[in-house]
């Protein structure tokens, strides 16, 4: 169990440190480096502890239950292969962190860099250690996102932003393909556990969906590992700080693609399609990357294309898939990570010390920085495959794999030749790097005077180069057992015999190596001047500019197509959109109802309904009048609308719904007050609108009238049809039966709101809170129409005085009413559970009470006496409701379960008390806060505008 927990710790620690790193002060370079470095050391210690458990093909699995019902558990699994990969991630991570401490300038915000680097280490660990293939994809995408953040670290630079976006789009889309592949894989294998999938190999390769899975899978792997034709993102990602390039874009993240190729080889590999696609693309990338690398003038550009080429090599080996090729692939992953990380760091040092990365300007640096030069030359030797260095060994194994293995197809007959040619180019660009940068005459036009960097900045490079040498000279002693452990996890227990030796005798691979190196020297030295002074990149590559193709595609998909769709599909203006919506609803209703017969008996009108009919005669007239007058006579329309609302309210009373009536009445008051306040900022409109009576406008109006008539009559028919059919059993019956027993209240409507369906209410008050805040935010930057800004002050003052005198008696009355309104609100609240009332009604009542105070006196007078903090009311309301809901978890019940009982309070008597009441108090508090916030925000506008208007006047007077 200890090992399982250590495994979880291995993934979690970097994330925790990342969160910590993000909180440190911006200039804390040393603290950041210590934190990150210690994290890596902790991870290394954990890995060392875990090693004995992963040897001999064993693995540890730790499962943490999560969503077991859909097969999604947090399973972590480590075997020899992921262990070796983890050592790379953590070890190189440690060196990169040390290097970054000296590379980053004091002006750079380092917490962001270290936090992202640590988060990347966590994501990469998760990816390597996931025992569940869905979780693997999640971590996979996480690495893409962190990579995006790191490439865009210097976000003020255009190239950094572009490169970051490009890499994210390419790798994340690949990740989506991978996810679909994983889902299908899981469905075929019957489990999303990695072990089960790996065991289901024959079942998968014989499945009819195998080609689909394979294509999607390699799309994911190839985009991540920058394989042709998706390689273009990697050179553009070089806009990242060099530590990031060394860590993510050469040593670890780009290897994730080849990692899954090797990991899933038992499940997906071994078929001819696998070989053709993976080896074919790998070989193409190998050659293409090597050729282009030779012609790049930018140091990091050269290294980026070299990385692409080496990744192609590993991919090709994964495609060949023989046990020997797989061992070679694992070996080369390690070797490449080591020498390429050191080369990137060396390139960073050169850039840091000279101020340029352009090989046309760099020259003769061996004289001024001999140590760095020596280290870089050795590392380039490893990259070229020079004997006694680690690159030589794995490259030779690669040659052997292409040479020995033959299944009779055309591709593998070609393979050795392609391999040698690519090897030659790789020797050529390595040579170019060494010769141009370190030898020749001293450079003349460097931005800075170069000298050796601090010792600790060189140290990571030195360590890595030492590993290159050690592995190159004593391969079996240094890496033999680890490689064996790792290979056993990939290939299986029957590992073929292989020996890591420098000298195998004169064998075909050695001859191939020698040919490649001598050919490479010729390729570079003969047309040297041409290459050194020629254009950046080859002519072929400029023709096949994939990055430009990508931009074009992006432009097409994100700008041109949406614009086209907008032009073709969009309606012009809100009116036509609303009309389309109404017509669609009409059509939808007609489509659903067209098959039903109309067998509704003609209703009879009794004499007792005369009053009700008269009531609605008034109500209907009001509604039609409001519709008629809303254009020019806004105030009249408001009054008429209020009339219709009151009739609606009376209807609720009539039809045994007192709760609705109370709420409707109160909301009606609040709405009217709100609209009245709003009308203040809506300039009067009384002149005729030009073109309002021409034929087009008239026909438009008649068309809308027809639509409105259709809607109205449709609703009438629908309502009538429902009302005259006998009701069936309703859910409401259940509520009626259980409201008292389960909810402890006799007012069923309130019990439904605060108990049975409390979650809906919770959502609803949240909406109310959002609306309140939105209104507040909108009004903070409010600029009223110029026509509605106040008239000159003297005139206004006179008017105000007149108004005050006129309103004196009512305002005193309103102030007196304040206390009774508070009492009424409390009364409505406490009786809510058993009698009509409740949190909503109480909240609106109190809000109206407050509003009356604003109406009675001016704003300043009120606010000097009453402190209203609507936002706090809202916040506490929402908090109380959520806390009451969450409280039921403590007792083991679901969210928002209520408990009810009657409390015997002296004097007052029995009072219904339920936790639902606390919830209702939250509702009350929030409703009060939201409504007061909105009303006050609008009412306050007069305060905000007045000083400004005065300021304009005074400035006019003085000028």
């Amino acid at each position: 169990m200890v090992e399982q927990n250590l495994l979880l710790l291995l993934v979690l620690t970097p994330f925790v440190s990342a969160a910590l790193a993000a909180t440190l002060p911006i200039g804390a370079r040393n603290a950041e480096a210590w934190l990150a470095g210690l994290t890596m050391i902790v991870a290394l210690v954990i890995l060392a502890v875990l090693y004995p458990a992963v040897t001999e093909g064993q693995h540890i699995t730790g499962t943490f239950r999560w969503v077991s019902s859909i097969g999604l558990d947090l399973t972590f699994r480590i075997d020899g292969f992921s262990w070796l990969f983890m050592v790379l991630v953590v070890g190189i991570g440690f060196l990169v962190i040390l290097y970054a401490r000296y590379y980053m300038s004091p002006d750079d915000p380092v917490p962001r860099l270290y936090s992202c680097l640590l988060a990347f280490a966590g994501a990469m660990s998760g990816l390597l250690l996931s025992g569940n293939i869905i979780m693997l994809v999640v971590f996979w995408e996480l690495t893409s996102i962190v990579s995006f953040l790191l490439i865009g670290y210097w976000f003020q630079r255009q190239d950094a932003r572009d490169g970051a976006r490009m890499s994210l789009i390419v790798t994340a889309s690949g990740g989506l393909c991978l996810m679909v592949a994983m889902i299908i894989l899981g469905q075929i294998a019957g489990s999303y556990e990695l072990d089960a999938v790996l065991k289901a190999g024959p079942q998968i390769t014989s499945h009819r969906l195998y080609p689909v899975v394979l294509i999607l899978f390699v799309l994911g792997a190839f985009t991540k590992s920058a394989q042709f034709p998706f390689h273009f993102w990697l050179p553009n990602a070089m806009a990242a700080p060099t530590p990031v390039s060394a860590y993510l874009h050469s040593a670890t993240m780009v290897k994730a693609g080849v990692f899954v190729l090797l990991r899933f080889h038992p499940a997906l590999g071994g078929t001819d399609a696998w070989f053709q696609i993976v080896t074919g693309i790998g070989m193409t990338t190998l050659l293409l990357g090597a050729v282009v690398a030779l012609f790049r003038h930018d140091l990091k550009g050269l290294l980026a294309y070299s990385t692409i080429s080496h990744l192609g090599l590993i991919t090709a080996l994964a495609g060949i898939g023989s046990p020997f090729a797989l061992i070679a692939a694992v070996f080369h992953i390690v070797n490449h990570a080591v020498f390429k990380a050191s080369l990137f760091m060396a390139a960073g040092i050169i850039d840091h010390e000279t101020g340029t990365r352009d090989m046309r300007r760099l020259s003769g640096l061996a004289r001024v920085m001999p140590v760095t030069a020596t280290l870089a030359i050795i590392a380039s030797g490893a990259m070229a495959g020079v004997p006694l260095l680690n690159g030589f060994l794995s490259k030779e194994m690669f040659f052997e794999a292409t040479y020995v293995w033959n299944n009779g197809g055309s591709l593998d007959s070609f393979a050795p030749y392609v391999a040698v040619l690519a090897g030659a180019f790789s020797a050529a660009y390595s040579l170019r790097f060494i010769v141009t940068v370190f030898f020749g005459p001293p450079a003349t036009d460097l931005p800075q005077e170069p000298h050796e960097p601090p010792l600790l900045m060189r140290l990571p490079v030195a360590i890595l180069v030492a590993i290159c040498l050690a592995v190159g000279m004593f391969p079996q002693q240094v890496l033999g057992t680890w490689l064996q452990t790792a290979s056993m996890a990939v290939v299986g227990p029957e590992l073929p015999h292989f020996s890591l030796k420098i000298w195998h005798g004169v064998s075909p691979p050695l001859i191939m190596s020698l040919i490649a190196m001598s050919l490479g020297t010729l390729i570079y030295l003969l047309p040297r001047r041409l290459i050194d002074s020629g254009e950046d990149g080859t002519r072929l590559m400029r023709r096949l500019d994939f990055a430009r193709g990508f931009d074009w595609l992006l432009q097409l998909l994100t700008v041109k197509l949406p614009r086209f769709a907008l032009r073709v599909l969009s309606a012009h203006g809100l009116q036509s959109q609303l009309r389309a919506m109404v017509l669609l609803s009409l059509a939808g209703a007609w489509f659903v109802l067209r098959t039903l017969d109309w067998n509704v008996p003609m209703p009879e009108l009794g004499a007792s309904e005369l009053v009700f009919a008269l009531l609605w005669l008034v109500g209907g007239t009001c509604a039609i009048g409001a519709a008629w007058q809303a254009k020019y006579h806004r105030f009249a329309a408001l009054v008429l609308m209020g009339g219709a609302g009151l009739v609606t309210c009376a209807t609720f009373v009539w039809l045994s719904a007192p709760d609705l009536a109370v709420t409707q009445l109160l909301v009606e008051i609040a709405t009217t007050a709100l609209l009245l306040l709003g009308l203040r900022w809506l300039p009067k409109r009384d002149e005729e609108i030009p073109g309002d009576n021409n034929l087009v406008a008239r026909s438009r109006r008649s068309r809308d009238l027809l639509i409105a008539l259709a809607c109205g009559s449709g609703m009438t028919a629908l309502a009538l049809a429902v009302l005259l059919t006998a009701p069936g059993a309703s859910v409401g019956d259940w509520f009626l039966r259980n409201a008292y027993v389960e909810g402890g209240g006799t007012n069923v409507v309130n019990v439904i709101l605060v108990d049975f369906r409390a979650f809906d209410t919770f959502g609803e008050i949240t909406v109310l809170a959002i609306v309140g805040l939105t209104v507040y935010a909108l009004l903070r930057r409010f600029r009223p129409a110029p026509e509605s800004v106040e008239r000159p002050r003297p005139q206004l003052d006179a008017e105000e005085q007149a108004l005050e005198a006129y309103l004196f008696v009512p305002s005193v009355l309103m102030q007196w009413m304040f206390a009774p309104i508070i009492a009424l609100s409390a009364y409505l609240f406490f009786r809510g559970h058993d009698l009509p009332g409740g949190g909503f009604a109480a909240g609106v009542t109190l809000a109206v009470g407050l509003l009356l105070q604003y109406v009675a006196a001016n704003v300043r007078w009120v606010e000097a006496r009453i402190i209203v903090l609507p936002v706090r009311w809202m916040a506490s309301g929402l908090t109380i409701s959520a806390a009451v809901g969450a409280g039921s978890w403590i007792f083991g019940y679901p969210f928002l379960s209520a408990h009810a009982q009657y409390l015997d309070i002296p004097v007052i008597g029995k009072v219904p008390f339920s936790t639902a009441m606390l919830f209702d108090f939250g509702v009350f508090s929030l409703v009060l806060g939201a409504i007061v916030l909105m009303l006050i925000a609008i009412a306050h506008q007069s305060l905000r505008v007045a000083p400004r208007a005065r300021a304009v006047e005074t400035s006019e007077e003085t000028s």
Binding site: G573, I624, T651, L655, A719, V722, R757, V771, M934
Partner: protein, 114 residues
């Protein structure tokens, strides 16, 4: 009773829709309010009409559901009333802000060019 309420719903909805399709923002606001009345009444009517039914149950025990108004549509409408108040408030603020920013009360922020 049923016929009157049905007609009332129809009138409210018809006036609401007519105003909804008008070009002036204030018309649309009034239209939304009228539409809300109509729709609330309609939802309420789905529980059928009970004149003079007791709204509150006696304490304790089981009750005969047919003697009471259906509480479910009422709970729904209660929610709807509050939400429609919120939308009205939001729309009102948008309206006055748009009037200040664009200088017109046309819903599109500019007068029709025709």
């Amino acid at each position: 009773m049923e016929l009157i309420l049905a007609l009332a719903i129809g009138i409210l909805v018809g006036s609401g829709v007519w105003l909804l399709l008008r070009p002036r923002s204030y018309q649309v606001i009034i239209g939304l309010c009228l539409l809300a009345y109509g729709v609330n009444l309609f939802i309420f009517a789905m529980g059928r009409l009970y004149v003079g039914a007791a709204p509150i149950m006696p304490k304790g025990g089981f009750v005969d559901p047919t003697a009471y108004a259906d509480p479910l549509p009422q709970a729904l409408v209660l929610t709807a009333i509050v939400i429609s108040f919120a939308t009205t408030a939001l729309f009102l603020v948008l309206m006055i802000a748009a009037r200040g920013a664009t200088g017109t009360d046309h819903v599109d922020g500019k007068e029709r060019h025709s």
